[in-house]
């Protein structure tokens, strides 16, 4: 566009200077990005590539350097016993793996649903103006700030079968007759883990939903109030559709987080089939059972499951990443 015939020499010079400037700026942009990109590549991309590579080898913990390529055998392999009999081996034929996939999915569905529900309630409360609101918000934030490990141990103590205060409370109000071994018995272990996760991450959910609520224009409520719309209808017809985008983002963030859950399960209910998640399964194989390659295969599968969900989400919401033309 700069070569229009009627342009004066001065403007031409100025525009040449601008384009040189902008070229310089673009060059400096890459220069500024380079250190960050190099670190990210070193800490994320390369290790990911190595994990995937290890999953196709026979690597063991002490002999990483001597890993040989063995194809898909960590994932699935049919061993023929020669007498017309044979057996399937590998991750995809491992019932413990499928149990941990199921545990993880179940954990994610239940905990994220409960967190959304409670988060919504807390956000609606915090959205109202009342004396002491700031203090209530600070109190709500505290579970989020407590390290996961600490929450897991705090709750493990509160849920202790003999001396735990939760059993004591429930017995006092008559909900249970005898103490429950929350973390130890297979029927309740998952409930205990979900309880702690919900307690710890609901604040995060509540804050994200609250931010969505605060973007709804006030006069919208004012108009509805003047028209005499009942509060529940108002919530369902006006508030909910308007906060839906924020709610969806929050749910997806939490779901991705829940699918990689490790800390709570590892600390509260170690070595239980009832709660073993994909991450716990992978780490167990990597470092405790000395099946490094097999554990890498589990990590790789977990990665692809999460990647698929992420890509699907980004595609579905068509996130505006350029940040302009809004």
């Amino acid at each position: 566009m700069s070569a229009a015939p009627d342009i004066s020499p001065a403007t031409a010079r100025a525009s040449a200077r601008t384009s040189r400037l902008s070229r310089e700026r673009i060059r400096s942009a890459w220069l500024f990005l380079a250190p960050m990109l190099i670190v990210l590549a070193g800490v994320a991309l390369y290790p990911l590539y190595r994990t995937i590579w290890f999953s196709f080898t026979d690597a063991s913990l002490d002999l990483l350097g001597e890993a040989r390529f063995i194809g898909w055998r960590n994932y699935l392999e049919y061993v023929d016993y020669g007498n017309g009999d044979g057996e399937w081996f590998g991750l995809l034929a491992d019932s413990r793996w499928w149990r941990s996939v199921w545990n993880t999915v179940w954990f994610a569905i239940v905990s994220v649903s409960l967190e959304t529900l409670f988060g919504l309630v807390i956000a609606l409360v915090l959205h109202k103006k009342f004396p002491g609101r700031v203090w209530v918000q600070a109190a709500v934030l505290i579970p989020w700030a407590i390290p996961t490990i600490v929450s897991a141990r705090m709750w493990a103590w509160m849920l202790h079968d003999q001396f735990g205060i939760v059993n004591d409370m429930l017995q006092r109000i008559g909900l249970i007759d005898a103490p429950v071994a929350w973390t130890a018995s297979p029927e309740t272990a998952m409930i205990a883990v979900i309880m702690v996760d919900v307690w710890k991450t609901t604040p995060f959910m509540a804050l994200l939903i609250l931010a969505g609520l605060q973007m709804v224009p006030r006069d919208m409520y004012e108009a509805a109030r003047l028209d005499g719309v009942p509060p529940f209808r108002l919530f369902r017809r006006v508030t909910l559709p308007l906060i839906m985008p924020a709610l969806l983002v929050a749910i997806v963030f939490r779901a991705l987080d829940a699918l990689r859950v490790f800390d709570i399960v590892y600390v509260m209910t170690p070595n239980t089939d009832a709660t073993r998640t994909m991450s716990v399964y992978a780490r167990e194989n990597l470092f405790d059972f000395d099946r490094f390659a097999y554990g890498s295969a589990a990590s790789t599968l977990l990665f692809f499951i999460i990647a698929l969900i992420t890509i699907g989400f980004i595609y579905a919401t068509r996130m505006n990443l350029e940040g302009d033309e809004r």
Binding site: L37, L141, I142, I149, L207, A307
Partner: protein, 277 residues
Amino acid sequence: MTAPAWLKTTGFYTLVAIIVIQALFPFYYAVLTSLEDGQALFDVNYLPAVFDLSNYRSMLSDGVFGKQIVNSVFVATVTVIISLFLAITASFALARIRFRGRGLLLLTILSVSMFPQIAVLSGLFELVRAFGLFNSLWSLVFSYMIFTLPFTVWVLTTFMRALPVEIEEAAIMDGASSFTIIRRIFVPLLWPAMVTTGLLAFIQAWNEFLFALTFLSTDAQRTVPVAIALISGRSEFEVPWGNIMAASVVVTLPLVVLVLIFQRRIVSGLTAGAVKG
């Protein structure tokens, strides 16, 4: 006041009370337990019954725990400083300069923050060993970049985008270099955002467990979350709950204080990191 309105108010404040109690009770109970010793530990109390500091004394006198706190502080602080330094220039480029592939780049950075840590664990383990960093705190400083860096870049980019274009135009016309613009214009304007992001990244690094569990092998090198996770007794009946709770209170108290002081900042930082995507 009419009866329904009165009822409504009561109901609302009951709900508020329930929310506050459920949020605070576990920590309150941990403090309560940490102040009990011996037999008192095994009686369920709802209100403070004894005041006994012996759990704290035994935790802190044992020496290793003090060292572990120093480890945690060191790792979290160094991680935050390095990520902020790398992120401020990177987010300047991402927020203020138009170039091809910017959207894709942001997308990549965002997706790295969604990486499951376990997916890079084998590869990182190999790297850490190859660099001779196994059982060194630097292995954590390095590996924590995987979650602090995308997060700080993302949040600082959102903050920087919100600033008007005019503030740098004059400087560009004066021929100031981009680096000068960052140092003279953006850092002074952005320091509140940097404090927020730094604080959130600090909390993330302070609380991290999986890498710390995997890359450190001796007690004296461990960070506090791992130390607390590994405290156990010889049998299920000898788990020193009083000590565990004392240690938990010690590592959590600073965070609780930070949350109370920086509440508003934390809220704005968390939502900038997620909602504005």
